[in-house]
């Protein structure tokens, strides 16, 4: 009988242990707070206990969609400090209809603040996508597009970066831990101005991590190829010719200036990207856009 009872108790204990793992971290935080309150451990000891407990479980995935939204807004504000907006509403309207249509057919159609697109007034060949769904494309990059299918490819590539979360992955691991720990350990009380100041500093670091990668260093080559693959899949799904991407890259190759601080610096060479796309099974055939599509494309872009 006793043996039977023991046997029955074992899975029960295992189940209880499993359930308690999820609450381990909050239990640590609570126990630390109690220890600190009782004067058993000092404030700095308490801090280090909390940080150790947090360090093992923090990842950028833990930022809420709302926090990601605020990160994205500031990344966008940095892009707009470097490049000015192209104020012509006609082309912005067209790029938004095309871009938002593509985004809605993507694997991540609904995000916190929605997808929004803007043309930048620059001859550089560049494009940026913030984690929150803001997409920027320069006039220089628009000039590499000869048809709507090519422009759709540019926007689909940027949507690919968003759904694959490349921006958020650019945040340094230590920064993620620092940010989430500050937020979590202050969870029980109202933020004072000191905490807001500390958090603002961490926020600034997060923005710098993302913009340094996005604007200066560029993502890993593998991330660019991944975004190209996502773009090809999305173009097919919606009904655009994925060869638009190949044609855009071919035009970009001619337009890129060696030593430039744009795609020349941050992206793999167009030829390498084309080779990688063709490895994925795409056989090149010229894009034959219907006249009605070509007309609206030319009309919208005008003298870009």
């Amino acid at each position: 009988m006793r043996k039977l009872l023991h046997l029955l108790c074992l899975p029960l204990l295992a189940a209880l242990a499993l359930a308690s793992c999820q609450t381990m971290e909050s239990a640590t935080t609570l126990a630390t707070a109690i220890g600190q309150g009782a004067g058993v451990i000092s404030g700095s000891q308490a801090e280090s206990i909390r940080k150790t407990a947090a360090a093992v479980s923090r990842s950028a995935e833990e930022f809420t969609p709302e926090q990601e939204y605020y990160i994205g807004r500031s990344v966008g504000a940095v892009v707009l400090a470097k490049y000015r907006a192209h104020e012509t509403s006609q082309v912005n309207q067209y790029v938004n209809v095309l871009g938002q249509t593509l985004a809605q057919a993507s694997d991540l159609p609904v995000i916190f603040g929605g997808y929004h697109f803007l043309v930048l007034n620059s001859d550089d060949i560049n494009a940026f996508a913030t984690p929150s769904g803001l997409v920027f494309v320069t006039r220089g990059l628009l000039r590499c597009c000869r048809n709507e299918d090519a422009l759709a490819a540019v926007l689909a590539h940027e949507i690919g970066h968003i759904e694959l979360r490349h921006g958020m992955q650019a945040i340094q691991k230590a920064r993620v831990t620092e940010a989430l720990t500050t937020i979590a350990t202050e969870g029980a009380k109202t933020f004072g101005s000191r905490e807001v100041a500390a958090l603002t500093q961490t926020f600034g670091g997060t923005i710098t991590d993302i913009t340094n990668t996005m604007i200066n260093k560029g993502y890993a080559r593998s991330s660019e190829y991944e975004a190209d693959r996502a773009a090809v899949a999305l173009l097919r799904r919606v009904g655009y010719n994925p060869n638009g991407l190949v044609e855009m890259l071919t035009a970009m190759k001619k337009n890129l200036k060696a030593g430039g601080l744009d795609f020349a610096k941050t992206h793999p060479a167009p030829d390498d990207r084309i080779a990688e796309i063709e490895k994925g099974g795409l056989k090149y055939a010229a894009v034959q856009a219907p006249a009605v599509r070509q007309n609206r494309f030319q009309q919208a872009l005008g003298e870009i």
Partner: protein, 165 residues
Amino acid sequence: MTRLSKIILIGVFISLCFVFSGFAEPQKTMSVQVKEGQLRSVPSFLGKIIANPSYGDRVAIIEDQGAWKKVAIGGVQGWMHATALTTKTIVLKAGTQNVRTSATGGELALAGKGFSEEVEKQYKNLNHNLDYAWVDRMEKFQVSPEQMQAFLKQGNVVPAEGGAQ
């Protein structure tokens, strides 16, 4: 078997049922994880919007259909896209209408914490060169599903196989 053993045995059995039913129970409610959710009459972006649940609102899950979930909130039933929902709990500060919240691991906790409007404001004050005015203007660029549908139709954009959502 003694009477005491029987009682213990029954007790253990009931505890086991309780613990395992907790694991086996399917997720019945989810939280809205976008600023303004859209509850539609049919499982499609072209479906009529019948309600706009807010960030953090809990919805009861009735059924799944591909990437769409039939949900109920406040006595109204409709469809929401799965990417607008999360299994995490989002706890808003009582009495506030805005969407300021923060994350603590599996549970999204109290409002007013984390990277919020307040932190953005502080950051903006420290970095006067940043251009938030155009970010705000960008957020106003809205395209309706009807406009999207008309755009695809007018441009004769048709997938070779399958279909766009």
